[in-house]
Symmetry: C2
Subunit: 376 residues, 2 copies
């Protein structure tokens, strides 16, 4: 972590903390205990290390915030005066006892969704009177609505991912004769070259593996005449990208069934993007894609939701899934990524990131959606 | 995940499961609920994705194990007949309800230490009669003692990290004039080139940043006449490496105080390695290093424990820290990594991985421990 010298950063964080305190009052939460996940960096600029030494911000509704941090990591913390104080603990201290002491008699506590279960269990043992809920109950409705600076950051990350996807559909990333893992590593290098600080994932599923939505790129050598699903993203200045394009290897082109499947998918994805308007419930956007794919005869082969929110985390609220009645508001940022998967044969997925806006859905990815046949 | 075709892998996993079931009986745990972290891959060969869709193995002491997995990830699961069955859930299912149904009337439940808190809270709400503990209570004493195949895997990973560290101390990795982040990325590339599947971290702390033990490699340009702490590791065939060497940039060589500091550190690290014998309590190994550093006048500047266990996870039991009375047994694998840090000036750390063995401490790293002065 570099020291933050721009005082406006501290102001922005303080404004977020004020909104969170308001939400805590409304929800009736006495203190937030923030550790792993995006809430902590969103509020403080500091990211906890995902290790066995506890880092936890104690943010009471009625008092000052304190960041409990391992002593050896304290030099990494860029302080923002007035926002929180830093309380380092030594190697033989019990950080859970320190957190419990800061919590005191407060009883309704919100803990980071991604905090390790072992720390929650230790805190529950120390604070037997407390009742617990996920911190996202307070933070997620706020974090899900991106401000202008956040949308700009997502747009930059999306444009960088687009440049790699454009190389893919143009046949500039060799596929035939390479393993999925080699192509995955190549995509990762290109994401970094285009400005990403970190590669979060680069799924490359070829042939029958393209029918496995979360396939881990492996030792399979990509052949000619195959579907290749490439779904990749990373982090750029803290914000995430996520894009999927499916290409077909080989000049003879895909079988007619795959062309049909892809046409249905492309229509569904485009319609869902168009339908992601302000005021539309998330589940209705999912329904748009699902109906077109079902009408096309592939309903059983669309085995996942249509999309997920994106921001500091790759997956966050709002989720475009049946049962989620949340209506889209300006600033909601999410993926639209239907897929069709025929087990043992092939699959396809198309994904863009979209921001809901009063002027209509604002797609952050623009790479051609037509089926690319690549000869490389 | 590649399909596992070697049947002996299934046998090895089944043997681990049998030992875990024995330990569950002894501890009095009715079921383990395994999600994120190393317990699940150690027992099943399958690693849960760290995402909002719950993956959880329900392993009852008295019945068959079931892996509850998101439907879209089910194609990734390599099944081992007899070890566990797979229960995929659809996007609009509630996986917590499915897990609770499998738990049934069992009351003492062990949950993965690294499972997200939000899932534990949901499970607690569904299973109000249950009492909870960390799964590591059962698994960690078993996992901490590595078998011959695991030690061989750690040795291979250590040798690969050694080859990169040898390049560092030989001056083959350019430092002067590059940013810490550039050197970190270079070290990462070299770890991959030497056989690592994944780079877990590559700390590069130069000048005053070398006094920050968990410094994140940043934009600082490394100059001549500076201490540079390089602490890096990755994963190779599932097992982790972790090594630290500190070098000095520039031919004139370090100031006499740094030479003194380094000599004390080197003596402390070597003595702690030599003292890590079978039967020695973990805290005594820490004490060996701490006493030498204190006697050398730097006691307040050694601000962290002496080491951590290593295996499928970078940090796991046993921890070499004050208060840990666990006696070393053959097969315990851990780091020995004292450090001395003078805030605002410089710091140094030396780290090797060591396996406790009847024949004496078995160091998996062998790169020269003398202070290297590199001119590159």
């Amino acid at each position: 972590m570099e020291a933050v010298t721009d005082p406006s950063v501290g102001d922005a964080l303080a404004a977020r903390a004020a909104r969170v305190r308001d939400a805590m009052q409304q929800v009736g939460v006495d203190a937030l205990l923030l550790s792993l996940g995006a809430d902590l960096p969103w509020l403080t600029g500091y990211t906890a290390m995902p290790l066995e030494r506890l880092t936890m911000l104690v943010l009471p509704a009625d008092g000052d915030a304190t960041l409990v941090v391992p002593g050896l990591e304290a030099p990494r913390v860029a302080e923002h005066p007035g926002l929180f104080s830093v309380l380092p603990w030594a190697e033989t201290d019990d950080p859970v006892a320190i957190v419990a002491g800061l919590v005191g008699r407060r009883v309704t506590l919100g803990i980071s969704d991604r905090c390790w279960a072992t720390f929650l269990l230790q805190l529950q043992a120390r604070l037997p009177e407390a009742s617990w809920l996920a911190a996202s109950t307070v933070t997620s409705p706020i974090r899900a609505v991106k401000d202008a600076a956040e949308i700009a950051a997502l747009r930059r990350a999306g444009a960088a991912a687009d440049r790699v996807a454009a190389q893919l559909v143009a046949g500039e990333i060799p596929l035939i004769g390479r393993t999925e893992a080699e192509v995955s590593a190549d995509i990762g290098r290109r994401l970094r070259a285009e400005g990403h600080d970190k590669v979060n994932f680069a799924i490359v599923g070829s042939g029958p593996n393209s029918a496995s939505p979360h396939h881990e790129a492996g030792r399979r050598v990509i052949g000619a005449g195959e579907s290749v699903v490439c779904d990749f993203g990373g982090t750029m200045a803290g914000y995430c990208s996520d894009i999927t394009r499916t290409v077909w290897t080989g000049g003879a082109g895909p079988a007619s069934q795959f062309r049909d499947l892809y046409a249905v998918l492309q229509a569904a994805q485009a319609a869902a993007v168009d339908g992601a308007t302000v005021g539309t419930p998330c589940e209705d956007v999912d329904g748009i894609a699902r109906r077109i794919i079902s009408d096309g005869g592939y309903g059983d082969a669309f085995i996942h939701r249509t999309g997920h929110g994106i921001g500091l985390e790759e997956h966050e609220d709002p989720y475009l899934v049946g049962g989620n009645c949340t209506a889209l508001v300006p600033g909601h940022a999410f993926s639209i990524e239907p897929g069709i998967y025929l087990a043992g044969e092939y699959g396809a997925r198309i994904e863009d990131i979209v921001v809901a806006a009063d002027a209509g859905p604002d797609a952050l990815n623009a790479v051609d959606h037509d089926l690319a046949v690549v000869d490389a």
